[in-house]
């Protein structure tokens, strides 16, 4: 599964924009880990990464987690997402770990954590989504 995603030529633009790389997959535990290379073009007036772009990385990881946990049969458009911003993140390397708490027929519950390369927790998110057959989104 890891090789399949890393070798994919059909990456959506948002994944490239965020410099996303899938680095770990635990399919049975419904857990993944991603590395990001955050562009300085996402900086706020203080030079730190604007919160929305941290949310973008967390969303990317949680959404991909559903796709992988469902063995690439389902995707899950996010309904609602709550993010806590614990400390600031500077552009550059960042890591996100995402887990699925429950993958049901009509709802999915996910959580994710973003941290710096030295392991400091930057942000934590929880989200709900509706699983849908993958093909419906083309």
């Amino acid at each position: 599964m890891l090789a399949r995603f890393q070798g994919s030529k059909k990456r959506p633009p948002c994944s490239d924009t965020l410099g996303m790389k899938l680095i770990e997959v635990e399919q049975d535990a419904m857990r993944i880990r991603m590395e990001f290379d955050v562009s300085p073009s996402f900086a706020n007036p203080t030079g730190a990464v604007q919160g929305g772009f941290i949310s973008a990385m967390l969303d990317e990881a949680m959404s991909t987690c559903v796709i992988i946990a469902s063995n690439v049969t389902m995707t899950a458009p996010t309904l609602e997402m709550k993010t806590s911003f614990l400390t600031r993140l500077m552009p550059g390397q960042a890591f996100v770990e995402a887990r699925i708490l429950r993958l049901g027929k009509s709802a999915a519950f996910m959580e994710a954590e973003c941290s710096t390369p030295d392991g400091k927790l930057v942000a934590k998110a929880t989200a709900t989504a509706i699983p849908m057959p993958f093909k419906r989104l083309g």
């Binding site: 633009p13 073009s41 996402f42 706020n44 929305g52 772009f53 609602e80 911003f85």
Partner: protein
């Protein structure tokens, strides 16, 4: 000389060089009221924000909301300021298109001594509500360049 809040924010939001994140989401000021603490702005997301479904990825939708909500929290303070977000909840009501004009609204809900509460809305040009959010943030004085 007294701080002219209106002139300061008019300059920052309309004539200043936008921070990279602000420029990325295509921010364009429409109107604001620094006393009531609200701002209207237009956005246009680049192709780079596209998800596998062809619409905007949720984080980039969140980025637009964070822009208008942070401005609402900043302009409501007394001097040059910013309002770092502590926590934000976003509801994604409808798909948000790429490359189209999106109207954003940020509002201050409550200004406390040590916390600010804000809310934000994104609508299409024909008035459909696309996403909404609430957030808590902290007031912080800041010397803008």
């Amino acid at each position: 000389m007294a701080f002219d809040k209106r002139a300061f924010w008019e300059h920052q939001l309309r004539h200043g060089t936008p921070p990279p994140a602000t420029a990325f989401v295509g921010f364009e000021l429409i109107a604001f009221d620094e006393n009531e603490g609200w701002v209207d702005a237009a956005f246009c997301l680049p192709e780079e924000a596209t998800n596998p479904g062809g619409d905007a990825q949720g984080g980039f939708i969140t980025a637009m909301l964070d822009e208008v909500m942070s401005i609402a929290g900043s302009i409501a303070q007394d001097g040059p300021a910013m309002s770092p977000t502590l926590q934000m909840t976003v509801s994604f009501l409808r798909p948000v298109p790429i490359g189209q004009r999106i109207l954003g609204r940020g509002e201050l809900v409550r200004r406390g001594r040590s916390a600010l509460f804000t809310q934000g809305f994104l609508r299409s040009e024909d008035g459909k509500l696309l996403a909404q959010a609430t957030a808590s943030c902290i007031p912080r004085a800041m010397d803008w360049k």
